[in-house]
């Protein structure tokens, strides 16, 4: 393929459209604040267009652009499409909340689009600088989003925590990157090999990278910000954080570890092992003692991150694809859980504490049923796709001599099952007084139902998605 600069820009059309769309939404929000609905429509049109453009890029070629800064491979295209589709769903769920709670509508959509741009850049990065830029674009958008409800003290606290710890993480990452540059003389991911023996210098650099990653992903012991942000951020922002950026986090790890310092596999594998075991155990155990539902979901995320890391640390095609599959499924489930919470809030019953769920099944039978399916799916019980996500990771582990890790993983998922069951228990087995004052928003509930039922459909027909995840790494 003949490369000219113009051709390069043609490949970049999705990102450019997203950037332009984000700017238009931002400007529109500033000038026409009374037309909230049109902003939503505009953001959705942008997202659908970007998704379509990404779909057009599906091919089996691997393209490097801009002197190798930018890489378009199967993996990048697949994750970009997944991110865009999830973002469309996220905006549908968020819409009424931000419109009704006096949050700045234009800024929300614009920041969401910008964060998506950052995530897409991470997916396609082939250069450490590119990774860092994408990550900062994502993180800064996220900090602002968390702080959006500025009169709410919990929200502000969460934002400060998130910002400070996020900045530290970026610092670690940047320091690792600069060390690597010093040792290898290059920032291109494919050129990070060093000539002489592996010494303490490069090991330290890799450890810094892993720590930065662990911060961003929320792996124990770098997880402190995560439950606070889940609890403190406005609900639509939590929904956003809990879904799409997880895929970006995985891409960050894949680009750095898989494409970058592959040859250091045995070193980062050990660090990831420690991180994942800690995350699995601490995430799941601490989740049990939570009384706030969103905090509990935060700790449950940590447990899931442990699983994703287990897939990553296997370090071959099978492991990576299992981590990708797990992340996609996790993002799907987690966004649906918050979708249910937002729906319930919209119908007049706000759920914050676990005890708010008492008697939920009586007042909202359909929503409760959807949440029940999601909880079983998160616990990894068959007849829901959550089972394959775990199966896939376990199989990758066991085929690569990780039986002990697999046993730790399954025991922790039994521990995890307890708090998921408790949610079901509160909804179905306990009695509580919940009044139902508004009818179901029909459009919302249709999207939500389709979203949740996909958990069962994907269980029955998982073949395509699993193959897709495997092709991404072939």
């Amino acid at each position: 393929m003949q490369h000219s600069l113009l051709m390069d820009y043609l490949v970049l059309v999705p990102e450019i459209s997203l950037l332009l769309g984000g700017c238009i939404v931002l400007l529109g929000g500033a000038f026409v604040s009374q037309f909230k609905h049109s902003l939503f429509a505009l953001a959705q049109i942008v997202l659908i267009a970007v998704t379509y453009l990404c779909v057009l890029q599906i091919s089996n070629d691997e393209i490097e652009l801009f002197n190798g800064f930018y890489l378009l491979d199967n993996l990048a295209v697949i994750t970009k499409i997944a991110m865009c589709v999830l973002m469309i769903v996220v905006l549908i769920y968020s819409r009424s909340y931000i419109e009704n709670h006096n949050l700045p509508v234009g800024e929300y959509y614009a920041l969401a689009l910008f964060s998506l741009l950052g995530m897409m850049l991470i997916s396609s990065a082939n250069h450490l600088l590119m990774i860092y830029l994408g990550l900062e674009l994502l993180s800064l958008s996220m900090y602002a989003l968390v702080a959006m409800d500025r009169d709410n003290s919990i929200s502000s606290e969460a934002a400060i925590k998130y910002f400070v710890l996020g900045a530290i993480a970026s610092g670690f990452l940047l320091y690792g990157i600069s060390r690597i540059y010093g040792l290898t003389g290059s920032l291109y991911l494919s050129e990070l090999t060093i000539q002489n023996d592996v010494g303490i210098g490069i090991i330290a650099a890799v450890i810094f990278l892993v720590i930065g990653l662990a911060f961003k992903l929320g792996a124990v012991p770098f997880h402190m910000w995560l439950p606070d942000v889940y609890q403190g951020a406005p609900l639509p922002v939590t929904l956003l954080i809990a879904s799409v950026p997880k895929i970006a986090g995985l891409m960050l790890a894949l680009r750095l570890l898989m494409d970058g310092v592959t040859y250091m596999h045995e070193y980062w594998q050990q660090s990831l092992m420690a991180l994942s075991v800690l995350s699995l155990v601490i995430g799941n155990v601490v989740a049990i003692s939570q009384t706030n539902l969103r905090r509990m979901l935060g700790y449950s995320t940590i447990g899931h991150v442990g699983y994703i890391l287990l897939g990553l640390l296997v370090g071959n095609q099978q492991g990576y694809s299992s981590a990708l599959f797990y992340t996609l499924i996790y993002a799907l489930m987690s966004s649906a859980v918050f979708g249910v919470l937002l729906c319930s809030g919209r119908m007049g019953h706000v759920i914050n504490e676990l005890s708010d769920l008492k008697g939920f099944a009586k007042a909202y039978p359909w929503l409760a049923f959807l949440l029940l399916l999601l909880m079983f799916s998160m616990a990894g019980i068959p007849m829901t796709v959550g089972f394959y996500a775990k199966l896939n990771v376990l199989q990758a582990l066991i085929l690569n001599d990780g039986v002990i890790l697999a046993i730790i993983a399954v025991i922790s998922s039994v521990i995890g099952a307890f708090y998921y069951l408790r949610v079901i228990k509160l909804m179905y087995f306990d009695d509580g007084e919940i009044e139902r004052n508004q009818s179901m928003p029909s459009g919302y509930i249709t999207v939500l139902s389709a979203h949740v039922l996909s958990v069962i459909v994907l269980f029955l027909f998982p073949q395509e998605l699993i193959l897709l995840c495997q092709q991404a790494f072939s």
């Binding site: 079983f376 019980i381 068959p382 007849m383 089972f387 394959y388 199966l391 896939n392 376990l394 199989q395 066991i398 085929l399 039986v403 697999a406 046993i407 399954v410 025991i411 998922s413 039994v414 099952a417 307890f418 069951l421 408790r422 079901i424 228990k425 179905y428 087995f429 306990d430 998982p462 073949q463 699993i466 193959l467 495997q470």
Partner: protein, 500 residues
Amino acid sequence: MNIPLLSSLIWLPIIAGMLVMLIGRNNSEGMKWFAVFVSLVELALGLVLIGASTSEASMQFIEKHVWISAFDIYYALGVDAISIALIVLTIFMTLLVVIASWNNVKRDIHYYLAAFLVLEGLMIGVFCALDAILFYVFFEAMLIPMFLIIGIWGGPRRVYATIKFFLYTFLGSVFMLVALLYLYSQANTFEIAELQHFVIPLNIQILLFLAFLIAFAVKVPMWPVHTWLPDAHVEAPTGGSVILAAIMLKIGGYGFLRFNLPITPDASRELDWLLITISLIAIVYIGFVALAQKDMKKLIAYSSIAHMGFVTLGFFVIYQISAGKPDIQMLALQGGMIQMISHGFISGALFLCVGVLYDRMHSRNIDDYQGVINSMPVFAAFMVLFAMANSGLPGTSGFVGEFMVIIASFDASLWYAALAAVTLIVGAAYSLWLVKRVIFGEVVSDSVAALQDVSIREFLVLMSLAVLVIIVGVWPALLVEYLQPSLEQVLRLALVTKVP
């Protein structure tokens, strides 16, 4: 005939159950009839299954489709006589449960019926699966409806009981999952039949055996992992207890026949002492525990554990019977299998009897009853019959299996047989004492005097079980001969050595 019979058996009740759940809100009467209709169609399909089956040992009605090619997982179904017997038992007990819960479920009966129909499909799936992961999927998915049945319609401590039930079983089964994945990493297949011929070194076999053991021992349940069962039984609604005792416990036994004995035969031989010991502890110790119970359901729950001890004793005593006597080994295996079927009938029937009393008196406490025979003579006759069967009266199905296992274990060791036989007395003691305290005696309370005898509906349910208990009791050959070829196949696989 090209209709996928097994798939219909599995998916018909699941789809019907979903339907009942979605549309049944305002039409509970119609839903009851619909559930009965579906159960009857299932029964008809089950009878077709028996009629069309041949007496070969190999799997029949095989359906095999690729499910997930990336993992080598197949949607592979097939049955032999062992599966068919348990499938028909499942269908039959579900039908009875649907009929028996006609009037006594007050809350959301459409959800209740839906849960049982879905559960039925999943349990049949367990007995049909030829692919290990498919087996695991059904095995685990079964927990969901049962968890809800106990948790929503159960007694006062239902939440504790159901979460305990779920976590125990889940913990047991995840080890099986790891074992299956490990086997795959060695053998490159999830097909149970191929795994049964796969050569595995002894130390690995032992680990695999233990993983399977945890999964199935919890399900059976064997001492010392039985403690979830009394709680679950006591708190579950009648229907839940019946299905739990009659079918779910059998899935543990079925797992031993499909996984432990054929896939890890050398480890089974190596660890037979362990299994025999805990089976005997279950038989003897749990028998005495049952004697001390004050709650009728708890008593029957403990008696279930003791009776399931005969099943596992029969399965594992084959290794201690001298190799030259294949007939005796066969007898032990047959005894265990007959005991599973018979216990399905008897324990189900006893729980239904307790349900009949509970619907009227809202108490399961033995002390609250006395002299029920005076106000409910027909019911008393049934209850006495089932209690006799439970204690192993010759002429009832309860006698056959236990007798076969005891005879066979004489050949292994006098002590096994002596210990097992002694508990027949304990079994008789708690069963008959229960009957004495509940059924016979003077009427002391007004509420007992005011009891109404069984309705036609209850009569039909109990009568059908009574007929089956007696048929199997006086003509066991019917069942024994039907199961013979398949059990011979299991025995063959269990006795070969697979160490490389």
